[in-house]
C-alpha cells in the first residue's frame, strides 16, 4: 500500500494542493495576525517622521514574479506614508519594478485623490546601474535624476527643494525578491548612513537576519506574513484616525490560505517519510 502511495501520480498532489488553496478563499477562517519586531520597527520608523519632515523612499527592486508577497507591502507602505502626510519617493531598481510601484501608487491614490506628484510624492524613472544611482543619490539627488517619471525636471518639484541627499531621507525600504537590499546596505547605509529596511520574499528573509542584528537593516517585512503584519498595523492606524477607506487586505486574506497549505505540506512531508521508512524496512526484511 505504501509503495503504491509513493508512486502516486504527482498530478493528484497538484489537485489536492489547488483545492487546499481555493477552499480557505471561499470559507475564510480569519486567524488573527500577530506582529513581529522587524515589522514593528519599520512601522515605528515611519511613524516617527514628522509632518513636513524627511521623506521615505519606497523602492520596488524586483520583477513581477514575487508580486503576491511584495505588492501588498508596497501598497501598505505608500498608504501609511499618505495617511501620515509623509513625503514619499518611489523608485525601482529595475525596469519592471518602476512599472509595479506605479501600479501600487495608482491603487493607493484611489483613496487619496488629493495627493499630488511633486508635492506629496515623486516617482523616479528607471535608470541603469542601480548601485551607481544610489551612490549618486548620496551625493545629490538632483544630479542623480534629471527628471521624474513624468518627464518633469526634478529641480522644479516643490517637494524635492528640501531634499538633496540621504540626510533628508528618514528611511529607504527596498522591496525585493533577491539581494537588492544588500546594494542599499552597502551603498546607502554604509557609505552615506541612510537608514535602510527591506520588504523581502520569504525565500530571502533568512539572509537578512545578520543585518537586522547589526542595525544595517532597520527592519524587515518577511514574505506574505510580513505584508499581512503591515496591513494589520496600517488598518489599525486607519481606524485610529477615523478614516473611511475600504481597504482590501490582500495579504491577510492570503494568510488563512497559507496556514492551511502549510498544514498540508507538513502532512505531505510526514506521510512521505513514513512511507519511505516503512517501504525501506519491508525491502530490508525481504
Amino acid at each position: 500500500m505504501w509503495n503504491k502511495l509513493l508512486n502516486l501520480d504527482r498530478r493528484w498532489i497538484f489537485i489536492v494542493t489547488a483545492i487546499c488553496v481555493i477552499l480557505p478563499f471561499l470559507f475564510p477562517i480569519g486567524f488573527p495576525t500577530n506582529v513581529t519586531p522587524p515589522t514593528q520597527r519599520i512601522y515605528d520608523k515611519i511613524e516617527s517622521v514628522t509632518e513636513d519632515g524627511p521623506a521615505v523612499i519606497v523602492s520596488f527592486d524586483s520583477d513581477a514574479a514575487p508580486l503576491p508577497e511584495l505588492y501588498p507591502m508596497a501598497v501598505s507602505l505608500i498608504r501609511h506614508c499618505f495617511i501620515n502626510n509623509t513625503k514619499v519617493i518611489l523608485w525601482g531598481m529595475n525596469m519592471q519594478g518602476v512599472g509595479i510601484i506605479q501600479m501600487a501608487l495608482e491603487d493607493v491614490k484611489k483613496d487619496f485623490p488629493e495627493k499630488k506628484s511633486g508635492i506629496n510624492y515623486v516617482l523616479i524613472p528607471y535608470l541603469p546601474y542601480p548601485a551607481i544611482i544610489i551612490m549618486k543619490m548620496g551625493e545629490d539627488m538632483h544630479k542623480a535624476f534629471n527628471t521624474d517619471y513624468y518627464g518633469v525636471s526634478i529641480d522644479s518639484l516643490p517637494m524635492m527643494k528640501d531634499i538633496r541627499n540621504f540626510d533628508q531621507i528618514a528611511l529607504a525600504v527596498s522591496l525585493t525578491g533577491g539581494s537588492a537590499w544588500g546594494t542599499w546596505v552597502s551603498f546607502a547605509n554604509q557609505k552615506y548612513g541612510c537608514k535602510v529596511a527591506t520588504g523581502i520574499t520569504a525565500v530571502g528573509a533568512p539572509d537578512c537576519y545578520p543585518y537586522l542584528q547589526t542595525g544595517q537593516l532597520v527592519g524587515m517585512l518577511g514574505g506574505m506574513k510580513g505584508a499581512a503584519e503591515y496591513e494589520t498595523l496600517v488598518e489599525a492606524k486607519i481606524a485610529e484616525k477615523g478614516l473611511n477607506f475600504k481597504t482590501r487586505k490582500a495579504a491577510c486574506i492570503g494568510m488563512d490560505t497559507q496556514s492551511v497549505v502549510h498544514i498540508v505540506m507538513i502532512i505531505f512531508i510526514i506521510l512521505g517519510n513514513i512511507a519511505y521508512f516503512v517501504t525501506r524496512r519491508q525491502r530490508n526484511v525481504a
Binding site: 546601474y129 528573509a205 512531508i269
Partner: protein, 208 residues
C-alpha cells in the same frame, strides 16, 4: 596586445577607484562622478549585443523552419510590437504599453513562478526524507518555522512566533553570518585577483 591592453585598463581603473575610496578631495570626487557617468553611457552599448543575440537566435530558427518555429514567430512579433507601442505611443500610466505590461507580462511572470509551489508540494511528499541526522534536524526546524510563521501558529501557542524569531535571530543568523563571511572573503579575493590580472576568465570567448 589583445590581452595586455584590457588587463591594463582593468588594473588602472580598478586601482584608481580603490585609491579614490580613501581620498575625499574635490578632485577625487570629480573622478568618481565622471566614472559613474561613463559607466552608464558605455554600458548602454552592451544592451545592443544582448538584443542581437536574441534576435539572431529566433530569426535563425524561423528562417530554417526548425521544429516549433511558430513559437519563435510569437516571440519576435511580441518583442517588436511591444517596443514599437512603447516608443511610438509613450509609456505613461494609462498608455497601451503599460496596459499590456500589467495584464500580459505581470500575470504570466507570476504564474510561471507559482508552478514552483506545486512542484514543492509534490517534492514534499515524494522526496524530502530524514535520511541522515542532519536532514532530520533540518526538517524539524523547517516544520517549526512553517507552523510558527503563519497565523495558525500564533493561534495554537501564542509564543510560537517568538520562538521562530529567536531561531531566526540567533542560530540562523550565526550560520548565515558565518557563511556570509566566507562568501565575502571569497568574493573579495576574486575581485583582487581580477584587478591584478591573476584571474583572467573574463577575457575568454573573444579569441586570442
Amino acid at each position: 596586445m589583445r590581452k595586455s591592453i584590457p588587463l591594463r585598463i582593468c588594473l588602472v581603473s580598478g586601482i584608481v577607484m580603490i585609491i579614490q575610496f580613501f581620498i575625499p578631495h574635490r578632485y577625487s570626487q570629480t573622478v568618481y562622478n565622471y566614472t559613474l557617468d561613463w559607466l552608464i553611457v558605455s554600458g548602454i552599448f552592451a544592451i545592443v549585443i544582448g538584443l542581437h543575440s536574441n534576435f539572431h537566435l529566433h530569426i535563425t530558427r524561423i528562417v530554417r523552419k526548425r521544429k516549433g518555429w511558430g513559437y519563435n514567430v510569437v516571440t519576435m512579433a511580441a518583442t517588436l510590437s511591444m517596443a514599437f507601442i512603447g516608443i511610438a505611443f509613450g509609456i505613461g500610466a494609462d498608455s497601451l504599453f503599460m496596459k499590456i505590461y500589467r495584464n500580459i507580462e505581470v500575470p504570466m511572470d507570476a504564474t510561471m513562478f507559482s508552478l514552483l509551489g506545486f512542484f514543492m508540494a509534490s517534492a514534499a511528499f515524494r522526496a524530502f526524507r530524514a535520511k541522515t541526522k542532519e536532514a532530520t534536524v533540518l526538517l524539524i526546524v523547517a516544520l517549526i518555522i512553517m507552523i510558527g510563521r503563519v497565523p495558525l501558529g500564533y493561534f495554537l501557542w501564542h509564543r510560537f512566533p517568538e520562538l521562530v524569531e529567536w531561531i531566526m535571530m540567533y542560530p540562523n543568523m550565526a550560520a548565515q553570518r558565518g557563511i556570509g563571511l566566507g562568501i565575502g572573503l571569497g568574493m573579495a579575493a576574486m575581485e583582487l585577483k581580477i584587478i591584478l590580472g591573476i584571474e583572467r576568465g573574463w577575457l575568454g570567448g573573444a579569441g586570442d
